[in-house]
């Protein structure tokens, strides 16, 4: 479970995230939408310990990320918007590296890596250095590495960028399956159709504040007020 309590992030005089509160329950697939610069990535970076909130609390599976960062991070998988990898490591080595940081048993880790390499169709590329990878292959490797330790929550920022249709489908199905297994998924995306297709609840952030949070049913009600399209709701809320 992920819980944000009145979270604010300021950079000097600029407030990037302004008092956000929301909860993502176990097994829930939460879609986090918003225009460019709205505060999506900043929120996610605070949830994963990359940014320190100026104010508020973030509780990940019962642990405050500021007070108990190690325990909180042990339960979560993070996939950043840009799949930066260590250029000189192979994909397999990167996955072993991440598994090691999560203190995984080597035998279990090996089995998990083999399974993920097959699942994400990384193939022979896994034994080549990541400096030669395409954007899509980097993205697949990053997602696979994030899942090696069987997380309780997944925080994923723009997962479909750079993926070919087949890979995008694999990622979508994987995330959906994880949510069905009881993992809480927090996904930031620009793609309204993907959010509509996958998410059980949706939040729209605009100028650092939550402009909308609701289930698909709530969204349906909003859509009726316009022309029945999610796009129109989104454009109106982020005007």
């Amino acid at each position: 479970m992920i819980e944000l309590r009145n979270v604010t992030k300021k950079f000097g005089n600029f407030t990037a995230v302004d008092g956000i509160s929301l909860t993502v329950q176990k097994g829930e697939f939460f879609g986090f939408l918003g225009p460019n610069g709205a505060g999506k990535t900043t929120t996610i970076k605070m949830m994963t310990g990359l940014f320190t909130p100026t104010q508020g609390e973030i509780i990940i599976n019962g642990y405050d990320i500021a007070k108990n960062p190690i325990e909180a991070k042990m339960t979560v998988a993070y996939v950043p918007d840009q799949p930066f990898l260590y250029d000189k490591l192979t994909g397999r080595e990167f996955m072993y590296f991440v598994g090691g940081l999560f203190k995984m048993d080597k035998k279990k880790l090996k089995l998990k890596i083999d399974e993920l390499v097959e699942h994400f169709e990384i193939g022979d590329w896994v034994d080549k250095r990541t400096e030669d990878y395409s954007q899509g292959m980097r993205q697949r490797t990053t997602i696979a590495a994030a899942l090696v330790h069987e997380p309780l929550s997944i925080i994923i920022d723009e997962p479909m960028i750079g993926l070919d249709p087949r890979s995008a489908k694999i990622v979508r199905e994987t995330l959906r399956k994880k949510a069905q297994e009881g993992v809480s998924v927090f996904m930031s995306t620009h793609s309204l159709p993907i959010a509509e297709e996958l998410c059980t609840r949706i939040g729209i952030i605009h100028n650092g504040k939550l402009a909308f949070v609701g289930t698909q049913e709530h969204l349906e009600l909003h859509k009726q007020q316009y022309d029945g399209k999610f796009e129109s709701v989104f454009l109106e809320l982020t005007k």
Binding site: K45, T48, G49, L50, F51, T52, P69, I70, E71, A72, K73, M74, V76, Y78, P80, Q82, F84, L85, Y86, D87, K88, L89, T90, R92, E93, F94, Y96, F97, V98, G99, G100, L101, F102, K103, M104, K106, K110, D124, D127, K128, R129, E131, D132, A145
Partner: protein, 567 residues
Amino acid sequence: MLVLLHILKFKFISFIKTTFDFRFVTIVRGLGSLLVFGGFSIVAYFLSYEITKFVLEQSRTGLFLYHRFISMLLFVFFMSVNMGNIIVSYSTLYKSSEVNYLFTKPVSFTGIFVLKFLDNFLYSSTTLFLVAFMVLLGYGTYFGYPWYTFLGVLVFVLVPFMFLSACLAVLVLMSLMKIASRWGFRRVMMGLAGMYFALVFFFFKFSNPIKLVTQVNKYYPNVDNYFSQFDPGFVKYLPNNWVADFLFFMARGEVKFALPYAAILILVTLAMFVICMLVAYRFYYRSWLVTFEFQAQSNSLQAGRRMKMFDFRKESILPPQMESLLKKEYFQFFREPSQWIHLGLMTVLVGVFVLSVRNLNLGLRVTNVQTLTYLVLYAFGGFLTCSLALRFVFPFISLEGKALWSQISAPLDLKKAYFTKFIIGLSLILALAVIVAISSNVPFVRLSQRRPLLLWFGIFSAFWTSLTLVTLNLGFGGYFANYQEKNPIRVASSQGATLTFLFSLVYLIVLVSIIILPLLQYFNSLFIFSQFDPRVLVIPGTIFGVVSAALTAFAGVVGLRSLQRDF
């Protein structure tokens, strides 16, 4: 040509915008830099002035020998600039994304070459220019140079000298790329390292400074004369000798004898630049293509699948996080040519130093001379430690790059990640510093009929300076981290790195200053056969310990805090 000017214009605009940034933080940082650079310049000036005065007035070495020592220093300087440029040029000419971009645009290959070559030269040599100019200023003030002479020497002697070294470096690099496509990259690099080792070794072997000193001193007190008949034949073809002879004749006020040396230097430099352009015209693009072959060879599937030493798949006795961090650092280092090649070359230089100094015959049992010799060797060891720490430890955190997210978002105490880097850096630097300390103390142990006091002091000092300099470079490397820059050499020559280096040198100067008195007393007691009172070590030892511990603690806090910043 117009295209080149167009690119230069935008590079200049970008430079101006980043330099004249009037945000509070940037202004404070700028003022800090100014303070350190200014302080360092003043220290370099006074040191140069005082050394010149000491050598010529106190130890009465004479103009000729002094300028031959300068020539030897210039040889080392030339080789350092040369090797530095080979390694930096490999990154800037062959591995830069800017070059990849420019090759897709209608810009000539020679144009791109000139652009990157100048970029490389100016970027990596700015600090060296500053140091060289301040040393020249101190030296020239002693001889009463008028102000325009300083500018003349800088523009017409120092700049061509360094430029020649840089030209030679890119010529060697382009030839290497050509040969390496046939013989293999690693083999050719090993050959290059061997060649440099041989060059430095034979230069000092055939220059034979001790023999030269003995021959010149036979003419004492007429030691200001020009004794070129004692020079081995080959030195007159070396640019360091042209500069030294130019300075020698200028010091004697014989401008008409000095100018031909400057003229030769300028002409040879121009010729070398033209040769560079011609070679670049024919080979630059082709040699650039070769780098892709290297990459494909080094990144083959077979190589990736092969079980390697320290392979991630192997079981380890270390805790998993420590194992992961150590193995990552190992592979990142040894798969980056600019890292292992530079370390190899530095190790070769240390090897040359160890071999040269091990059998050093100290000769004279004169307190001042032995104190000065000891201080020079001690300062060299410290300088080497500074350079190694700057080159290999300072970029440590920056080289994590944007992939650092994987550690920050993992259940990892970042102190552990920091400590791992510290241990790796310290092991490397300490090992080399101790080797240098032992080898440079051996001649003094011989001189003192096997009294080991200086040897123990050398090892103790090497330990503390390594510890302090590694912490300083790691901490400041974190504070000034640039996660966008993938080239370790550019990180190590950034403004933050330069500041750290100057800070390290100030620390080194403090250390050298506090050991002067105890050393004088030690050698004095040694030569008059009296008992050395170890109590004289208490105050310098305390200052040494306090300064080192304070710097270590300060830099450690700065470094750890830098990792806790927003990423």
